[in-house]
């Protein structure tokens, strides 16, 4: 992929794995809780047979899905690379599908750092870049690095292409 470009080398924070794991666990717990309530209602009000089948089916899917969400973060962390140069933002990520993205700096419209409660716990930030049509997020960077990256991108992105 990279004969003219140096491949992206910067990695995201290792704590990203923990953040993802905790986030996914919470989501899974909510999912199972909802299912449990539905199973109880099914039992209590003896719903039609097909409702039971759907519930059983979704339980299997949820179990398989939650197994995957416990493995996925480790691989995702391993696969994540990004880099910012004067000309391009490069992103490489993805476990089952590896995606390489190339965004010219001149097309970036805004940069934002965000921090939810989980990220804050580990002193991390996510950096979101918006272009004219899409947005790209670098999920978890140590706070200082994120702020530094943000101001660096702002510097690079100041240059605008002539629109004609």
């Amino acid at each position: 992929m990279y004969t003219q470009l140096t491949p992206p080398r910067e990695r995201i924070s290792k704590d990203a794995v923990k953040v993802w794991l905790i986030g996914e666990t919470i989501l899974n717990a909510i999912g199972f809780l909802i299912l449990a309530v539905l199973f109880y209602l099914d039992y209590r009000y003896s719903w039609k047979a097909w409702a039971g089948w759907i519930l059983k089916g979704s339980t299997i899917i949820l179990i398989l899905g939650s197994l995957w969400t416990f493995i996925h973060p480790f691989f995702l962390y391993k696969s994540w690379r990004y880099d910012v140069s004067e000309e391009f933002l490069q992103i490489k990520s993805g476990v089952l599908v590896e995606r390489h993205e190339l965004v010219p700096m001149t097309k970036i419209q805004s940069v934002a750092t965000k921090q939810g409660p989980l990220l804050r716990k580990y002193g991390l930030c996510s950096v979101t870049l918006t272009t004219m049509g899409s947005s790209h997020t670098i999920p978890a960077l140590p706070q200082e690095i994120a702020v530094q990256l943000r101001s660096q991108i702002v510097q690079y992105a100041k240059i605008k292409e002539a629109e004609s």
Binding site: T3, P104, A162
Partner: protein, 502 residues
């Protein structure tokens, strides 16, 4: 510099008519259908209706009184607000395309409506004049054209324009108006072809069927009464004549409809703009600066492929779908002969180079396409198995569906073509209907290469581009050789050498 002006007073009338049109439903419901009703819901509904009507009318008038606009050399200044005053500026340089629509109402009063689209989000995304005199619309368009071509010159030649800014406008507008060349107006043959392709001659068929079944009902009743009518109906020639008459009427109607829609089509261009005009009763014109064309698409449905026709679409950053009732007009005539379409792209967009030589996919990408699980098929087969249809065995339906899926994939493989040609990219995709996408490297705002595990096994990858449009236009080709995907990535890196920095 002019003073801020009010919009054309006819705006009030136009909006009042719109209000009347929108309130017809309520009037019919509250005062006709429920005319005698004394239920409190209806009674209060009527009061509410009058209050709402009064508020709408006064807001229309208040808006006209408070909304103003002003132009200077470089931008629109818009003022609005009854209680909260607001003012904003829309620079001409941000305007992507211009849409002018003249409905019957506008024609009656000799006015028109114009919308200038910027492709931005939120307030001030477009500057629109619902009613404006033709003269004023021309003046604004000319002012924009001048400012944009000046900006172009400043970019292309680093030297500042030597002539005083005030002298340029009059010269420029006159010269551009003269140099306009017309590239296409449909002939009668084109319209016939178009009406056939758009299948509009079929509009009467449902009518025919329902009328026929009704006649049949009547005829059955009379059948019992006596044999006289039946003898007429059973005579084959009379039946044939009636059917033929219906088909003829249906075709004529279809042609008339097509004529109203596509009859007065005109594609023209001058040095730096493209103009498309259409419509016989409701006239719409669309203009876009050539440099603002983000990409070109050539679309062909199955029927169009058989007849050798194509639709050429210009992709612009300012949303191209205008109002629902106005319809789309980013399309150069939708029923162009293919060769003419290619020529015309070359004529009106000289900066675009189309090449007929394109690369095909390797055989391995046919295999990967055939092997990829079809979720549609899996889900429908599961559904068929569970619900066991009565008229056919579920596995026959499932097999037929699988065959269709595989044929579509095979066709998709056959139709897919791509090429990187200097600073152009061409991608053709689609199984039954095809789309050929052409864009320039500097107009593509980002690229993506993805590779799934199974693609890695075959040494293939998927490439994708994003272009400015509203919403953004994504295009891509699946299952190209990894080498080509790498070449594509590096090709895009090369854009840094050709872009101009502001």
């Amino acid at each position: 510099m002019r003073k801020a002006e009010r919009y054309n007073p006819l705006v009030i009338l136009f909006q009042l008519l719109k209000l009347v049109r929108n309130s017809v439903f309520f009037v019919v419901y509250l005062f006709l259908i429920k005319a005698g009703s004394e239920s409190s819901f209806i009674v209060y509904g009527r009061y509410l209706f009058f209050v709402a009507l009064g508020m709408s009318v006064s807001s229309i008038i208040a808006k006209w009184l408070t909304q103003k606009y002003r132009l200077d050399d470089r931008s629109f200044h818009l003022y609005k607000g009854v209680f909260n005053k607001s003012e904003w500026t829309v620079p001409f340089s941000k305007i992507q395309n211009i849409n002018r629509h003249t409905s019957l109402f506008h024609r009656l009063f000799g006015v028109t409506s114009v919308r200038f689209e910027t492709g931005m989000e939120g307030e001030g995304a477009d500057v629109s004049f619902e009613v404006i005199s033709r003269h004023e619309a021309d003046r604004i368009e000319a002012a924009i054209a001048v400012s944009q071509s000046q900006a172009l010159k400043e970019v292309s030649s680093a030297e500042p324009v030597g002539v005083g800014a005030e002298e340029i406008p009059s010269d420029e507008t006159e010269s551009t108006a003269q140099q306009r060349t017309v590239h296409f107006t449909p002939t009668q043959k084109d319209i016939l072809k178009a009406s056939f392709t758009s299948l509009s001659f079929l509009v009467l068929i449902p009518v025919i069927i329902s009328v026929y079944s009704k006649i049949n009902d009547v005829f059955n009743i009379e059948d019992k009464a006596g044999g006289f009518v039946q003898s007429i109906w059973s005579s084959k020639w009379l039946f044939a004549v009636i059917v033929a008459a219906f088909i003829l009427a249906s075709m004529l109607l279809g042609i008339a409809r097509t004529f109203l829609k596509y009859g007065k089509y005109e594609i023209s261009s001058d040095e730096d703009h493209i103009y498309i005009a259409k419509g016989v009763v409701d006239k719409t014109t669309f203009s876009i600066a050539k440099e603002r064309v983000q990409a070109v698409e050539l679309q062909q449905s199955v029927l169009k492929r058989w007849l050798g026709l194509a639709e050429v679409k210009l992709i612009s950053a300012g949303g191209l779908k205008s109002d629902k009732n106005v319809g789309e007009i980013n399309s150069l005539y939708p029923f162009l002969p293919v060769t003419r379409a290619y020529d015309m792209i070359a004529e009106i967009l000289p900066s675009y180079e189309l090449t007929a030589e394109m690369k095909r996919l390797p055989v391995s990408s046919l295999w990967i396409r055939l092997l990829r699980p079809s979720w549609l098929w899996v889900i429908i087969t599961a559904g068929l198995y569970v619900f066991q249809p009565r008229f056919l065995a579920w596995w026959i339906l499932s097999a037929v569906l699988l065959a269709i899926v595989l044929i579509a994939r095979w066709l998709g493989y056959l139709n897919t073509r791509y090429i990187l040609h200097r600073n152009f990219i061409q991608m053709k995709t689609g199984s039954f209907a095809t789309t050929l996408f052409v864009s320039r490297r500097d107009k593509i705002i980002e690229v993506k290469v993805t590779q799934s595990k199974i693609q890695r096994l075959f040494g293939l990858a998927t490439i994708g581009t994003v272009n400015r449009a509203k919403p953004v236009h994504r295009t891509g080709v699946k299952d190209v050789p990894l080498k080509e995907a790498q070449a594509f990535y590096n090709w895009y890196v090369g854009r840094t050498q050709e872009i101009e920095i502001e």
